[in-house]
Amino acid sequence: MILISLALQSLRNRALSTAITLFSVALSVFLILGVEQVRRGTQESFSNSISQVDIVVGARGSEIQLLLYSIFHLGDATNNITYDTYEHFKNHPSTEWTIPISLGDSHEGYRVVATDHNFYEHYRFQEDRAVEFRAGRAADDVFDVVLGSEVAKKLKYEIGTPVVISHGISAMSFQKHADKPFKIVGILKATGTPVDRALYITLEGMEAIHIDWKDGTPPLPGQGTPASQIKKDNIKIGQITSFLLRTRNRIAILRLQREINDFTSEPLMSTIPGVALSKLWDTLSYAEIALRMISACVALVSLLGLLLVLYTSLNERRREMSIFRALGLGPAKLLFLLLSESISIVIVGALLGAGALYAALWLGGPWLIDTFGLVIPVHAPSSDEWGYLGILVLASFFVGLIPAWTAYRRSLADGLGVRI
């Protein structure tokens, strides 16, 4: 213990070089664990966002894109599908339920999702959790809107607050459906999924705010149909963006998927969420590898820094080594003393890096949700992450062995007679 205490006091005596080395070790651990935590958290967050949906159906394009815009409100749809097609598959004998999704508008940067009662009834996340209301009820009337928990919290909206929807999904949209304001009738409980960051209206509501629009252009002021004259029963839904489908029997999934993909009335595409997510992770794995390589490089640089700091201090510490020899410390204990220094730096650096990462995940969680829609759960390090830390400590042992061995050899040569 006294040797470890001496090693720590020696490091404290060289505070600046120790601090710089500690920082570089902490940075490498921050990056190594950070990449893993974000990777694991992202996958978990995505996987938890949707359950019990067998197939997602939309216009033909990319499977990953279809999944991203339908479930995670990321990116745009390339095309819509007709409501007749939706009804065809909704009433298919293999279908248990469907959830229609119509996208394209937003409010204060949050996506507006037009759907129907099936969403409130059938949507599941984290295995079998249904969406629940914190206040109010489901959207039913044309201009009813239900808020995700975070939308209500961030915008400080309550039941009854009027909401004007913007055309398009940009947070800075200049085209607003100001003549047809919605009224908040419900606020959902937090789910930790993209549901929290969206507003939910009826399919009829989405059609209503685009009545009189021609080729993406709104009617001239005063020429549009007033909101008061729009009745739900008179609205015919023409198209939606995509829909989620649950089959009656899991065996039917592949057959139904083939039927959807071969549908002749219009080009459709379907994907199984788990399959699309796997493809997404495969696509992102290149970025993961790149990030891991960067982390490994930072770790390598920090170890080289450690080597440099210990090695350059050896000459000025020859007298110190001689004193320890005079006090009866054998060369093996000197080796241990110097190794204790390098290993202490790495262990303390690793603790600092891990602490900083967990603090960053905890403090930066809301920012990640706001900016990327990512809910990164904070987990204790996995066995892989402990493995990386173990490798780092082991590497520091071998790195520390180089100056320690040099000191050992010098102490044998110097004995008590060093003159500096």
């Binding site: 020696s10 320890f324 006090l327 009866g328």
Partner: protein
């Protein structure tokens, strides 16, 4: 220990280049004996083999040629760790200068031998280590410096701290390698006097090495390197 001899050397030959049998040894001592409680002044010029002899006496250097017994241990047969143990637990060593560990306080520097070797601490008996540090500091006039960093001390103060560190744990032998060469006349006399007093009080044998013959008057006897080293190198 035979006849209260704390050091016994006979027919000692030492060369750094062990592979060369034809090369003359740099140290060739027929006999040298230091008795328990004796205070011996070992005088020799630079290059006379003083440092090599001290390396052998402390067990930092090893030889298998001749006989070398220190504190009753045959250093020609003892392992490295056995010699380290004898040095750490039963000896005190004072360097010429730069004697202290720079990142420890004066108090920690003095206590270090007992902290590194529990056996040395046991030699204090019932006395607390902190009490012994305090006692030595008072005896050497450095009690006000105990909490200070060693970098703030003068050379004279540093040498007294080094003496306290060598004395702690009642070693049987202190070896001092030119400890006064960096001190002016007044400090040198005072330092030797303090060292002598403590060695006498604690019945510690002293081997004091210096090139300065004027210091010889303080010691029981003087041994010159030229008289004991028959090496022709």
């Amino acid at each position: 220990m035979i006849n209260n001899e704390i050091i016994r050397i006979s027919d000692l030959r030492f060369s750094y280049d062990k592979s060369s049998k034809i090369m003359a040894p740099i140290l060739a001592i027929d006999t040298l004996v230091v008795k328990t409680g004796e205070r011996v002044f070992l005088q020799g010029d630079s290059g006379s083999g003083k440092t090599t002899l001290l390396g052998l006496l402390t067990g930092v250097l090893s030889t298998s040629s001749g006989n070398l017994s220190v504190l009753g241990t045959d250093f020609t047969k003892a392992s490295n760790s056995e010699r380290d143990f004898v040095r750490g637990t039963r000896m005190g060593y004072i360097f010429q200068m730069f004697n202290l560990i720079p990142y420890l306080s004066v108090e920690q520097n003095i206590a270090l031998p007992c902290l590194l070797h529990p056996e040395r601490r046991k030699r204090l008996g019932d006395r607390l280590l902190s009490d012994e540090v305090q006692r030595l500091a008072v005896a050497l006039g450095i009690e006000v410096l105990l909490g200070q960093r060693v970098g703030t001390l003068s050379v004279g103060q540093q040498q007294r701290v080094a003496a306290a560190r060598a004395l702690i744990g009642r070693p049987e032998l202190i070896i001092a390698d030119e400890p006064t060469s960096a001190l002016d006349h007044g400090h040198r006399e005072r330092f030797i006097q303090l060292l002598m007093e403590e060695c006498a009080t604690e019945k510690i044998s002293l081997l004091f090495v210096s090139h300065d013959p004027t210091l010889a008057k303080h010691f029981d006897r003087t041994v010159t390197m030229t008289s004991i080293n028959r090496s022709e190198v």
